[in-house]
């Protein structure tokens, strides 16, 4: 009888230290009935079994029920295929954003609610303020993962807990150690989770064929060849071509080449020399699929229809320092529509920003550290 008075929480446990501690903190809290879950996604190097095992060990130690939720097919379709299709089109999609949107806070949340959950919890470094349901940068600025969560909606956040947002990573490790969690010393995962130790380009090669194309300099001179534009990202260097000119002259001080543009139709890469080359910079970007987490916030920054522009802070890559910018509604003709999703927005940076890859997420922040929302760079 007593048990249903508790709030039921499904914790997404990856087998890492962060979600282990998230589960631990909740399990310690007498308000909650905690259930551990490992989400089985798509994984090509087969290390998932070991991670599930680590998660299970922690759940067993905490004496909480533990289940594996099999979302492999869905993950493959909604995250992996999405990413491959993005690369095919020549853009640089972010699988982590997609995984959060579709898997963790999509299907997993849905399943958990179907199983009587009041909440789901994850080991994300982010803070949730209630009752307004706004997300804030984590206490640990270095680990802050708010960037990956810009797609979340009020409906989702209503059922979310982020137990470790108020801790530093070092504190999280300390808690894990003190509690005796077996994952306390486990290394942090890096890169794209479903790839494991497989190299990203090798993975893409399974799906995208090699097609030789030209590498051109900014002034249109051919300086080398590449394997197909879809394998490259804006801002990438070390693309494996010789700088012809410097190769001949030999003595001239050479600067590295950076990709500044991809022409998918013609299969051409354009590169510029030197990391401060003006061609690497952009002053303005367009966004699609914009989401504002809190409509109140969007009003505060004057969007979308009160005021056409507003000062915000923005980052276009994970862990990039926040940049001052103005956001404006590009479609003034729908200014009276309350729908703000999917409408096109423009961001103007106060100072030009380099290495901006279409497909990546631009995420907006307020001056108080609130993550306001984001959109996909087009």
């Amino acid at each position: 009888m007593n048990i249903r008075k508790l709030k039921r929480v499904f914790v997404a446990m990856s087998g890492g230290v962060d979600s282990s501690v998230a589960a631990f903190l909740l399990a310690k809290n007498k308000k909650y009935e905690v259930i551990g879950c490992f989400i089985k996604g798509y994984n090509i190097d087969g290390c998932q079994g070991a991670d599930a095992e680590d998660a299970r060990r922690v759940a067993g130690f905490l004496k909480i029920p533990f289940y594996v939720i099999d979302l492999e097919k869905e993950y493959k379709k909604l995250v992996v295929d999405y990413m491959i299709n993005g690369y095919k089109k020549g853009i640089t999609p972010n699988p982590d954003v997609m995984c959060n949107k579709e898997i963790k806070f999509g299907l997993f949340l849905e399943k958990a609610l179907g199983m009587g959950a009041d909440y789901i919890a994850t080991g994300h470094y982010v803070r949730l303020a209630s009752p307004a349901l706004s997300l804030y940068i984590a206490k640990d600025l270095n680990k802050d993962q708010s960037y990956f969560l810009w797609t979340l909606t009020q409906e989702q956040l209503k059922h979310c807990l982020f137990p470790i947002g108020d801790y530093l990573k070092s504190e999280v490790r300390e808690i894990a150690k003190k509690a005796g969690l077996s994952t306390a010393e486990k290394k942090d995962s890096q890169g794209i989770c479903f790839l494991g130790m497989v190299k990203f380009k090798d993975f893409l090669k399974q799906y995208l064929s090699i097609k030789k194309g030209d590498v051109l300099s900014v002034d249109g001179k051919k300086i080398g060849e590449h394997d197909g534009v879809w394998f490259y990202t804006i801002g990438q260097r070390h693309i494996g071509i010789m700088n012809y000119e410097s190769g001949i002259i030999g003595r001239r001080e050479t600067k590295p080449l950076y990709i500044i543009k991809k022409n998918v139709k013609k299969n051409i890469l354009i590169v510029a020399e030197g990391e401060n080359n003006q061609a690497l910079y952009k002053k303005e970007i367009k966004l699609a699929n914009v989401n504002f987490i809190n409509s109140k916030e969007s009003k505060e920054v004057g969007l979308p229809y009160r005021c056409p522009t507003s000062q915000i802070l923005v980052r276009v890559r994970y862990r990039q320092p926040l940049i001052k910018a103005r956001i404006m509604n590009n479609e003034s003709r729908i200014k009276d529509s309350p729908i703000i999703h999917n409408s096109k927005f423009i961001i103007q940076f106060d100072a030009p920003v380099k290495f901006i890859a279409p497909g990546q997420s631009a995420v907006f922040y307020g001056k108080n550290g609130e993550m306001l929302g984001g959109g996909i760079i087009i």
């Binding site: 089985k40 079994g49 594996v68 399943k111």
Partner: protein, 469 residues
Amino acid sequence: MKRIYLDYAATTPVDPLVKKAMEPYFCQKFGNPSSLHFFGQEAMAAIDESREKIAKVIGANFREVIFTGSATEANNLALRGIIKGFRFQVLGFSNKNQKYTLTPNTQNLTPRIIVSAIEHESILETVRDLESEDVEVIYLPVDREGLVDLKKLKESLNERTVLVSIMYANNEIGTIQPISAIVEIVRKFRMQNAELRKNNSKFLIDPLGICLRQKHNSELATALPLLHTDAVQSFQYLDCDVNKLGVDLMTLSSHKIYGPKGAGALYIRNPKHEIRNSKQILNTKSQTPNKQVSNFDIRISNLQQLVKPIVVGGGQEFGFRSGTENVAAIVGFAKAVGLISNSRELENKRVKKLSDYFWKELKKINPKVQINGASDVRCRALGVNKLPNILNIYFPGKLSEDLLIKLDLAGVAVSGGSACSARASKPSYVLKSCGLAENRIKSSLRFSLGRFTTKAEIDEAIKRIGPVV
């Protein structure tokens, strides 16, 4: 919340009487059965007694019961041991690469094993592994009820077939195989084979394609193919007398019959045990089937010579399974076997009544549910038999993995097929082999009742299942 356990086919609680029988063997009678002193003798006596008890219940001889660490190990010993024994004793070499030097290249010496497609994984994975060691495996299909295709069995038997392994009753759907009909088919084939061999015994090269290095080996070859049955699930409910069944090998498990985990047994028929018996006391342990044996030895214990050990060492269990015996578990296992043999019929009726009641009540909650495998109606119509305690149920429109979690959180423990290493449930290959559609397989759960299931528990389970399905 009092939890309700409806997964007896996965494992059973240890019966309190079994626990009591085991207790002295942890702290007091802890000796190593191989030790020569008092402590060792005490432990060995306990194992002897346990072996005697189990042998008696299944109608076997003392020396025909080999204790192992699990039924999986017993199955491995049966399959791998026979392949090893066949190569060593019948073909006259232990290494498959040797055959090219011993026999004309034209001869096909690849041994064949026949299994059903719905065997337990400990059989299926073992034969899959053996396939990589030049063993040919035939997987017999089953029908919608889970019965093996006997016609296909007949067609699959050939002179290279060394073993047929078909489970007595299935762990997921409870279907009972017609073992006597299978025995009949195998025996008939064996006799035809033996006749052919006898008439041509002067040839070094067996006319059926097997090169026999020595005369005595041809005698062994006439015992082929052997018939093994995995009786792990059936022992609680069916008479497993090996003479009535007519099998050559049989696997039993302790923890499925209210005994402890960590004990299994393999019965290996030893038709000439009468002669063997008198010598046994003198020389039990040194008699390992591993050693090169004289013609005389072959004559007195011939069939067991076809099984070579896969774990070697101190030569325990007549050399078939080395490793210090798990005395307490073996004692518990024997006690559990004893308890069943006294109460089988009554328990059968009681459990059948309960599972019928459960099914009736479940139908009331959700009229769309269906039985997988052999339903009662089909059983009557087709003369199929099934275990009384297993109900594999299809819940249209529901996902079994979700149902399982919901039920577990409501305190009802059931099973949804087997689990993979990451603990996610895999779609059942048993249901797939029965020809069920994928969405049906993904919407099915196994409920299995047992000794401690009560009507009150069933009522409570139904109450909890109601809101979920």
